[in-house]
Amino acid sequence: MLTIHNLHAGIEGKEILNGINLEIKPGEVHAIMGPNGSGKSTLASVLAGRKDFEVTEGSVEFFGKDLLGMPPEKRAGEGLFLAFQYPVEIPGLSTTNFIKTAVNEIRKYRGEEPMDALAFLKLMKEQMAMMDIDQSLLSRSLNEGFSGGEKKRNEIFQMAMLKPKLAILDETDSGLDIDAIRIVANGVNKLRSKDNAVLVVTHYQRLLDYIIPDFVHVLYNGRIVRSGSKKLALELEEKGYDFIKNEIDVSEEVNQ
């Protein structure tokens, strides 16, 4: 469903992504790991269409369509979802109202009628139970005054409401205790099907105990330097990122 080919992107002339290649098929779960500053969030942002980043080379296809040519709201309409590393606050806008707008805008994009209030409420109730989210949280202003954990859970709750084809989770596990991680992972696993895919961006392998990835990629200096199975995540955990860093830096020196 997603084909990233030789993607280069940066900001203000500074190159951050240095030729990413990645293929994600329906039903797969991919994990991207890597040290801080390696470009994981940048990759997620570029895929979601944040305008700050400039794509200088390469292409991305999403279900055969040119993803990079679409504005971010169309990408969402096509079924791409990003759970933000740092969810944004919008004072005065109730979370429920926001989600309802999002659900209906995406339906509109797909040529569907807006969801009626009753159906929407029913869907909310179901997903709330699954994500262990309290009604009172949803009537509060979007993310305003939410704890770190509440914000992350709210992201996954929105994912559950929007049912995307490709969900990108950017460090959704950071700041969560083990119970919250289980809830979040449970939500993600419920979404998994043969038609959907998940791209999990994480720093630690902990989350991957609950969301079992089919592939693990290591991002370093804006490039995927290693790909492997779940085992790679365990190896990273054991040896730390330094072993990858050393390996790469040495080989780069040799090549020069």
Partner: protein
């Protein structure tokens, strides 16, 4: 491209109410002198005392010799007061026995405005008066209201039918010498609404007036007076629109509210006068004096305003808190886009003991507009235990617009507690992108953020109005980001 830099592509959505109705008008000759005042008074068949009152105001105004207030943070070329038509009335039967007799063109005008003067619409529970150009057109629900002793009619009618009430209260809150535009209004006001709520009556429906400027080169000078007797309650709504015209038109209204013991008046305005085009051509000069007095103990006056229109807004709905334990409130959302300028705020004058006031002002600026909050909190010597809380927030869309806050605090009594908070924020690219990522386009995202920002004020509006006002906010900022 940077999200915020694209804000410059501001395009004002087409002003929806910009049509001109082809209604035959009965007009005064252009210009202003004593004869104009006499003409207006004669047209309205007014008693002598009313004419005298007007002339006194006119003479005061002419002594001011064009000295308009200079302190507001707004700029405009000098107004030629001799180039304005001060009276324009739709030519039609004066006596409307039933609304069915209304000029069909006029009726269509109201339909376009989404106003129903139809009594069938009674379910909405809103009694409507409509002032087009200078004259009040029809007041619905008159009979039902009369049964409760509530008087809701045009000012002209009140002068004829209830002269003793008008005489007793007119000019007591805003004297004819109050300010330049108030004096002008007192001399030439042509109509407006009058409400009287008798002792102990809770007015069962919202009273509402729609103001519409239609004719060319005319000014609109309406005068509204609301008197709430002991223990009564009324909620009053006011809406305004005007056609799109290249020249500026002057609107100088005066509103006076009087609340006696334990009475409560809630006054809401959704102001959508034509703001001028993208280049700043045309639009209404909205120079309005609104003031209420809490004359009785434990009385309450609450102003809520949503200001989206006008080329220039100059307006400070105020409350004089004379009665002990009285309460004044001011809730405001002022939006400026393109070349609009707004200098608006409130005055809370604490005279009585244990008086409380609350000010919530939300300014939203886009384009190259300028939005100023100007507020005075005055606590007099005798006002023991006065309390004020002010919250003034500004939201900027883009970096070519301005937001300014001018809070003035005068406290003459040590027991007073006066709190003022102010914030300025920019609509964040992050907020817009977050919405975009959820499938929400930029226009809708801006509307969500702005309505969130203004929510505390919007919540004060009566339900039907709140929805209308929300749409209005979205429309007036359409195209201002993205």
């Amino acid at each position: 491209m940077n999200e915020i830099s694209t804000i410059e592509k501001t395009v004002l959505s087409e002003y929806k109410y910009g049509f001109v109705s082809d209604i035959e008008a009965d007009e005064a000759p252009k210009g202003l002198n004593e004869d104009t005042v006499r003409f207006i008074s004669a047209k309205k068949n007014e008693p002598q005392w009313m004419l005298e009152w007007r002339l006194k105001a006119y003479r005061h105004w002419s002594r001011l010799a064009g000295e308009e207030p200079k302190w507001p943070n707004v700029k405009y070329p000098p107004i030629n007061y001799q180039d304005i038509i001060y009276y324009s009335a739709p030519k039609q039967k004066v006596d409307l026995n039933s609304l069915d007799e209304m000029d069909p063109e006029l009726r269509r005008t109201f339909e376009k405005l989404g106003i129903s003067l139809n009594e069938q619409k009674r379910l909405t529970g809103v009694a409507v008066d409509a002032v087009i150009d200078s004259v009040s057109i029809g007041t619905t629900f008159k009979v039902q209201l009369a049964e409760l002793g509530v008087i809701f009619c045009s000012m002209s009618e009140a002068i004829q039918e209830h002269p003793e009430l008008v005489k007793q209260y007119l000019g007591t809150v805003v004297p004819i010498t109050d300010n330049y535009f108030a004096s002008l209004n007192s001399a030439v006001f042509s109509d407006g609404s009058f409400c009287y709520i008798p002792k102990g009556v809770r007015c069962p429906m919202e009273l509402s007036t729609y103001f519409r400027i239609n004719a060319e080169n005319t000014g609109q000078f309406e005068r509204t007076l609301i008197v709430a007797e002991e223990g009564s309650y009324v909620s009053y709504l006011e809406g305004c629109t005007a056609p799109m015209r290249d020249e500026n038109q002057l609107h100088a209204a005066v509103v006076e509210l009087v609340a006696l013991d334990r009475a409560e008046i809630k006054y809401s305005t959704v102001q959508n006068w034509y703001p001028g085009d993208k280049e700043g051509k045309g639009g209404i000069y909205n120079f309005v004096t609104k003031r209420g007095i809490c004359r009785g103990e434990s009385s309450k006056i609450s102003w809520t305003q949503v200001e989206t229109g006008s080329a220039i807004t100059w307006k400070y709905p105020s409350v004089i808190l004379k009665g002990d334990n009285s309460v004044g409130e001011f809730y405001s959302v002022a939006v400026t886009n393109n070349h609009q300028q707004a200098d608006t705020g409130t005055k809370m004058m604490h005279l009585g003991k244990n008086t409380k006031s609350r000010i919530v002002s939300k300014g939203i600026s886009a384009g190259v507009s300028n939005n100023s909050y100007r507020g005075l909190v005055h606590v007099s010597k005798k006002a023991n235990n006065a309390r004020n809380f002010s919250q003034c927030d500004s939201l900027l869309l883009g970096d070519k617009c301005g937001a300014h806050t001018f809070p003035y605090i005068e406290v003459k009594n040590n027991s007073a507690i006066v709190e003022h908070e102010a914030t300025t924020s920019k609509i964040g690219e992050d907020q817009i992108f977050y919405c975009n990522q959820r499938g929400i386009d930029t226009e809708t995202a801006v509307a969500l953020v702005v309505n969130g920002f203004a929510r505390e004020v919007m919540n004060q509006l009566p339900m039907e109005f709140a929805i209308e006002a929300q749409k209005l906010l979205a429309i007036s900022l359409e195209g201002s980001v993205g």
